[in-house]
Symmetry: D2
Subunit: 188 residues, 4 copies
Amino acid sequence: MSQAKPLKFVSLLGSLRTGSFNAVVARNLDLLAPEGVDVSALSSVRDIPHYDADLQAQGFPETVVEMGKAIAAADGLVIVTPEYNYSVPGAMKNALDWLSRLPDTPVAGKPVAILTASPGAIGGARAQYHLRQILVFLDGRVLNKPEVMIGQAPSRLDPETGSITDADTRSLITAQLSALAEMAGRQG
Amino acid sequence: MSQAKPLKFVSLLGSLRTGSFNAVVARNLDLLAPEGVDVSALSSVRDIPHYDADLQAQGFPETVVEMGKAIAAADGLVIVTPEYNYSVPGAMKNALDWLSRLPDTPVAGKPVAILTASPGAIGGARAQYHLRQILVFLDGRVLNKPEVMIGQAPSRLDPETGSITDADTRSLITAQLSALAEMAGRQG
Amino acid sequence: MSQAKPLKFVSLLGSLRTGSFNAVVARNLDLLAPEGVDVSALSSVRDIPHYDADLQAQGFPETVVEMGKAIAAADGLVIVTPEYNYSVPGAMKNALDWLSRLPDTPVAGKPVAILTASPGAIGGARAQYHLRQILVFLDGRVLNKPEVMIGQAPSRLDPETGSITDADTRSLITAQLSALAEMAGRQG
Amino acid sequence: MSQAKPLKFVSLLGSLRTGSFNAVVARNLDLLAPEGVDVSALSSVRDIPHYDADLQAQGFPETVVEMGKAIAAADGLVIVTPEYNYSVPGAMKNALDWLSRLPDTPVAGKPVAILTASPGAIGGARAQYHLRQILVFLDGRVLNKPEVMIGQAPSRLDPETGSITDADTRSLITAQLSALAEMAGRQG
């Protein structure tokens, strides 16, 4: 990366619980990002009411407006989420439902990377392909490779210390953020 | 249907707005059900907080508990939902996320029918296949046919009067509820 | 299983190569089936030409007709397939494309179980959900649980000896065939 | 498009029958392409044997090798296919299965557009999202918008004359090819 000014990515987290594996991943993104790339967290999806067009008619919730501005200003969006019931958590989907209605469609054309972590072997893969289909409508430019599906998370992350203990997982995340940076640079 | 006692289905609605096409569909289910089948509405998905395992640790929300009991007591579950961003609305998915965690897994083994309505030509099909994948995990017995995807909803439903104006759509819904009744009868 | 006469399942294999992991799985089904259940292999999908409606107009290929008869006569269908490119192998899909056109729709209403094996961690999960969507159209009654996705196949199967070396995998397959037998019994 | 040299796209057709709606679409692509864009047809997927790793070990079929070279040399790939059984036709998937194994991975990084036509209302949408998942593995850069799903094909295309009779459909195809050209130009 020989970019004069750093790339700024924002991350959106799909889990609400304190000891979340995915929260550990999200909090390590900035540390693991390649040189010249900053990653900062968007606000929690918790604070967004269930999407309701009648509510939208009264004005978008402030959290959604701010989230939309932050995504619009960023060079890329990093989605970190658990898989619930073979798909995207309702709370994460709800945030995307609101973001999709913003008049300036902040996700459109934006480079997007997806990471999932789970205790099982499959590592959230099922949620990723649902997310990809959703992001076709939002017109995000979703990175193909490398995919980051962190299976058997308890053996790779430590929610107690907040660190990613597995070196291969750390390398994979850095590789993905580098690929996203390359995609973001190509676009400019 | 020569059943001694009527079958009881419960319906879950994925839309929150007042003038919702899907709300019209949901409210017409009982009217369109075949003889010997009653359909009653579950409470709104609006009242359910975003799923959070920490919240669950303090006890399931009362709405979720009641919803679970009603599903457990019913002979079948009818899901009526719009498609948001090529998938299931966040609020609907969130209700399913909570229901999936109830200790008695009320959806497991339960006959399930899916209906979607939308203004576009595709009629919510994309949401239906995501729902089907989700329901594999919840172990619902999802009816295959007939599928009910009500495209170009404004020409088939009237949110003003609350009626389904298109006779073919009414017949299709009756046919689907009859098929669900047959599946529910077979199970007993 | 206290059934007077045995249940007969037929298996369809999606791989053509000699040393296939999935072929090992398919060949072990009869051995691993619970008492009272026989599993026999359908002919190879290799011998079926690419689906072409013009060809169909001249008559269904003999292999397809025979395969359809065998499925129609069976109590259940067991699909064993690798995942190619995050979906169902073309050759397997082609067999299903032909079977779906048979006038008597042999798969309709038939209990179906899906097994996938792969060298990777995900074990073919992505192919399974595509198969499930396909089988909605064919109106198969696809078993929800247990799902059989055999990841890291080289550590669980031995194509040299043709045996499934991992005891948990053997138990899981037996459990799935038992569940399919229960579904098939319930239907009768 | 103010490009000095024309862009060259190649098209891959998923249907084999003579009167195919999708064949009509494929044959009209070059006519409907914007100025500076040529679209030529790849050979038929019919001539490709079912994928078999043992066959591959003996050498790739000549058709696959030639198809791979043509895709590698093109500025973009246009996939035109019917939906069979809610997914991609076996013959089309088989072609992709072979192409994915070519050592130079010709689809990787290549701009890709998808068009589907069908007699029903849904216009092949279900096949498109399966294709998109498949193309994640092949690392194609699949265009998000506009999506081209030609429903009720008999009212929009005429297989007798080979023409696309509906002006909106023609405009939509031109708009998609223009968007693909823009993506291809951006990449260079």
